[in-house]
């Protein structure tokens, strides 16, 4: 009777010998090397993208800074003007039906010459010169509900 361990060892040897040349097929190597290429080639382009992003960010920051400076200047000048305007209460003209409870409204802000308003029939601003800021409250049906004139 043969030793079972020896039999097993012989079988292991045979299996090892039979499978010694087994390896992953070539397409696996292709896939792995493609992954290598993908992970290394885009590294260069990602640097470029990053550099481009930096340039874009800097440009955006510059535009934002300039914009904020301009807006800030206007707000400061508006703040100077405001006290004189506060004295002049805006003129509210109700047109059409009043705003219904729960109605979705939109506020349209525009600036137009006072003379144009007079032409349109708004006589309360007849004495005004120059441009007038107008806030128009528009209802869900698209019809104006009210006008607020800020001379």
């Amino acid at each position: 009777m043969t030793n079972p361990d020896q039999n097993l060892s012989a079988l292991f040897d045979a299996l090892r010998h039979a499978e010694s040349d087994d390896s992953a097929p070539p397409h696996v190597e292709s896939a792995v090397m493609k992954a290598w290429d993908a992970s290394h080639a885009p590294a260069v382009s990602s640097v470029r993208v990053t550099a481009a992003s930096w340039v874009a960010s800097l440009a955006a920051a510059a535009v934002l800074a300039i914009g904020l400076t301009v807006v800030g200047g206007r707000l400061r000048s508006a703040a100077v003007v405001t006290p004189s305007l506060v004295a002049e209460a805006p003129t509210v003209i109700l047109v059409g039906e009043p705003v219904r409870d729960g109605e979705q409204i939109r506020l349209v802000r525009m600036r137009m010459p006072a003379s144009a308003l007079h032409t349109l029939g708004v006589t309360s601003t007849a004495a005004l010169q120059g441009d007038v800021d107008i806030d128009v409250i528009v209802g869900e049906d698209g019809v104006a509900r009210a006008l607020s004139l800020n001379p």
Binding site: P4, D5, N7, L8, L11, F12, A14, L15, R16, A18, E19, D21, D22, S23, A24, P25, V28, E29, S30, A31, V32, M33, K34, A35, W36, D37, S39, H40
Partner: protein, 202 residues
């Protein structure tokens, strides 16, 4: 895709190749792949019984190596330890996910090497029974048999790959061999019985 050119440096150590890989050397990585993919593939295929799964495991293991090359510390473990450890983790994850084995369908070359056809057929059957028996082992026994008995990995490397003591490897290997011997005896008995019936029928 570029052609893969393996440098003419068969004796270059794994550590040197890893360092070159970490530095972005494509050829070094290709050399490492060609040097070790066979062992990873065989391990994964014997563990799962599926050539397709083994291919996925090889791919996943070497992609991990590609990413970890810069962090790989040769002083802590040999590359084979790292690769088998990674292959083991990926394989176990796949087995847990799939929870099924696919039958191995490979040519072991026995038919070509055997002196006559009947001997070759019998040998091929025997090897297939061995594969089936290995596949039917619990994974903790299966992995030590594949690593130590089939891939020729040392107990130390197997212990480092699996993350257990060398004594555990020894005891699992002992138990695995007992189980295999029992399974093969049963399989042989069934096979002998079948052959006897066939001879009687003829």
């Amino acid at each position: 895709m570029q052609d893969i050119e393996v440098p003419d440096s068969p004796g270059e150590s794994d550590q040197a190749l890893i360092q070159r890989t970490a530095a972005g050397d494509r050829e070094a990585f290709a050399t490492l792949y060609r040097r070790h993919q066979g062992a990873v593939y065989r391990f994964a295929r014997l563990m799962t019984g599926s050539a397709a799964t083994a291919e996925d495991v090889v791919q996943e293991v070497f992609l991990a190596l590609m990413k970890d090359a810069a962090r790989y510390d040769a002083g802590r473990a040999a590359l084979t330890t790292y690769l088998f450890g990674m292959a083991r983790r990926v394989t176990r994850r796949r087995l847990l996910r799939e929870r099924r084995f696919v039958e191995i369908n490979v040519s072991d070359g026995a038919l070509d090497r055997a002196p006559n056809a009947s001997e070759a057929l019998e040998r091929s059957d025997t090897l297939q029974r061995l594969r089936d028996a290995i596949l039917s082992l619990p994974s903790r026994y299966r992995e030590v048999v594949v690593l130590c008995d089939l891939e020729g990995v040392t107990y130390e490397t197997a212990a480092a790959s699996i993350g257990c003591a060398i004594g555990t490897i020894r005891s699992r290997l002992h138990r695995a061999r007992q189980l295999l011997a029992t399974k093969l005896r049963r399989a042989d008995g069934r096979c002998t019985g079948t052959r006897a019936v066939m001879r009687c029928a003829v």
